[in-house]
């Protein structure tokens, strides 16, 4: 752990309730830490250039550029302009999904049955969080799912498996430009991404080194 990053130095230290949306603006050089407090809690995340939200996270460009399917320490989270929005500077889990997208009320009906339409979902959170920054459903693209375990097998099989993040696991993301970060603390209970029990997470932001 970077010893400069202790909670006393953080400019923000918040708990995000289970199932809730969240957003923040980070300046270039600042670091965001996301704690999976109780373990096995998916944290759906989107990133935009704070000065021009037409520039946004591109999951496909990110994994094509690194040549592998999962996000972990060292991954440059690329934009649709081919620039690095944020860099993953620490990861106590080892791998995170960025191919399986966010849950939505509509996709839930297909996956789990029409009776699940009126269950809360990540896309609902993203729409609410995006609206705070002048954006709409059109701006919600393929996201990162921190702490979500989605192995993609050589056969192509892709499924959400039990999470591999222990209580207290975290990732650190360093902003490489001014960015807007949207988070949905995933409310899904129909698959194992939250251990069938959504729980709170904690976020901290540290100023950049001077």
């Amino acid at each position: 752990m970077d010893t400069n990053l202790n909670s006393a130095n953080a400019r923000l230290d918040e708990t995000i309730a289970a199932r809730a949306p969240w957003s923040a603006v980070l300046h270039a050089g600042e670091t965001l830490r996301i704690f999976d407090l109780e373990g096995q809690q998916a944290v759906d995340t989107l990133i935009y250039n704070a000065n021009d939200t037409n520039e946004r996270y591109s999951c496909q460009d990110t994994i094509a550029a690194q040549g592998s399917a999962y996000v972990t320490t060292g991954t440059a989270l690329l934009s649709n302009e081919g620039r690095t929005l944020m860099t993953v500077t620490a990861d106590t889990v080892g791998r995170h999904d960025t191919s399986a997208g966010a849950c939505s009320c509509e996709a839930n009906t297909v996956r789990f049955g029409h009776h699940t339409r009126y269950m809360h979902a990540c896309r609902e959170n993203f729409i609410i969080a995006a609206a705070r920054h002048g954006m709409t459903k059109r701006d919600i693209v393929g996201n990162i799912n921190f702490f979500m375990n989605v192995p993609i097998l050589p056969s192509g099989e892709l499924a959400i498996d039990d999470g591999i993040s222990a209580p207290g696991s975290y990732v650190d993301l360093r902003a490489e430009m001014d960015v807007i970060v949207l988070i949905s603390n995933c409310p899904q209970v129909n698959n194992p991404c939250n251990g069938f029990n959504p729980t709170p997470i904690r976020v901290l932001i540290w100023p950049g080194q001077v």
């Binding site: 199932r19 809730a20 037409n54 591109s58 999951c59 496909q60 460009d61 994994i63 094509a64 550029a65 040549g67 592998s68 399917a69 999962y70 649709n80 081919g82 791998r95 191919s99 399986a100 997208g101 966010a102 939505s104 009320c105 509509e106 996709a107 839930n108 009906t109 297909v110 996956r111 789990f112 049955g113 029409h114 699940t116 009126y118 269950m119 809360h120 896309r123 709409t136 459903k137 059109r138 701006d139 693209v141 393929g142 996201n143 993609i152 097998l153 050589p154 056969s155 192509g156 099989e157 892709l158 499924a159 959400i160 409310p187 209970v189 129909n190 698959n191 194992p192 251990g195 069938f196």
Partner: protein
């Protein structure tokens, strides 16, 4: 916050495992039968338009529900990236993540569906002679990937093709989501690394049947993970044709319970 949980965590787990096991059983079974009409070639009077897309270029089209688009890899060396929007509401568009997640596989061949972000089916893959050699994970080429592969960021690329195509449909960069690329043999190895599989055959094709009225764009650019050192995209053919009407036993509609629910969502939407 209001939530409606219908079951205990253990009941949710059992339900999830049942769905997963059904998907694994389907994956182990043979793919649905060839659709004879498509396999035998298109009758002349079924063809609505026929376009040759030069290497490096893009093309846009409107497809009415029930029409189909055949994309032919004429040379066997092309890759064709695609995006689809609901023509009646372009905020509804192809969703790569949902498409692989809802079907429990990243291999999208014959019998598979292309889903929108609204839990509806935009198109059905009613024929595919490439054996599912397509990619919905890693996207298309960009100035950056062309610089890295060919040393020339100015070469035509899929990212800019999609922005141009979107503009001509009244859309913008905000409307360009992750895409699917046909004839791109991307797989993932045990360690999570992407592996490129050659194997394109001249004349191989894929047929997409529109399940809603659509805007479609195709970009004919080499895939960013294609290891070939030369940038030499060949022309491809795009044919819009009248597809046979799907029957009650249509293999795409009956492919899985997820597919059935996706089409139930289409039907509810089309009833207005």
């Amino acid at each position: 916050m209001t939530t409606l949980d219908f079951a205990t965590p253990e009941q949710h787990r059992q339900r999830y495992l049942q769905l997963r096991q059904a998907a694994q059983a389907r994956a182990a079974a043979a793919p649905p039968r060839l659709m004879d009409e498509a396999a035998a070639g298109l009758a002349g009077d079924a063809i609505i338009t026929n376009e040759t897309i030069p290497g490096g270029w893009y093309w846009t089209a409107r497809l009415k529900r029930g029409e189909a688009l055949r994309i032919i890899n004429t040379s066997g060396r092309s890759a064709v990236s695609a995006l689809l929007w609901n023509a009646a509401d372009t905020s509804e568009r192809f969703n790569a993540g949902d498409t692989v997640k809802l079907q429990w596989t990243a291999v999208l061949g014959r019998g598979k569906l292309l889903f929108s972000d609204m839990g509806r089916v935009l198109a059905s893959i009613i024929e595919d002679t490439s054996g599912g050699r397509h990619d919905a994970l890693t996207g298309g080429s960009t100035p950056l990937t062309n610089q890295r592969r060919y040393g020339d960021a100015s070469l035509r690329n899929t990212r800019d093709n999609f922005r141009l195509a979107a503009a001509k449909l009244g859309l913008s960069v905000r409307d360009v989501p992750p895409c699917i690329t046909f004839f791109a043999g991307v797989r993932v190895d045990d360690a999570g690394a992407f592996v490129w599989r050659d194997g394109g055959m001249p004349g191989e094709f894929v047929d997409l049947r529109a399940e809603l009225d659509l805007f479609v764009t195709l970009s004919n650019c080499p895939h960013p993970l294609d290891p070939a050192r030369d940038y030499a995209p060949e022309p491809v053919e795009a044919i819009i044709f009248r597809a046979p009407s799907p029957g009650a036993d249509d293999p795409c509609r009956c492919a899985s319970e997820e597919a059935e629910r996706g089409f139930e969502n289409n039907n509810a939407y089309l009833r207005g």
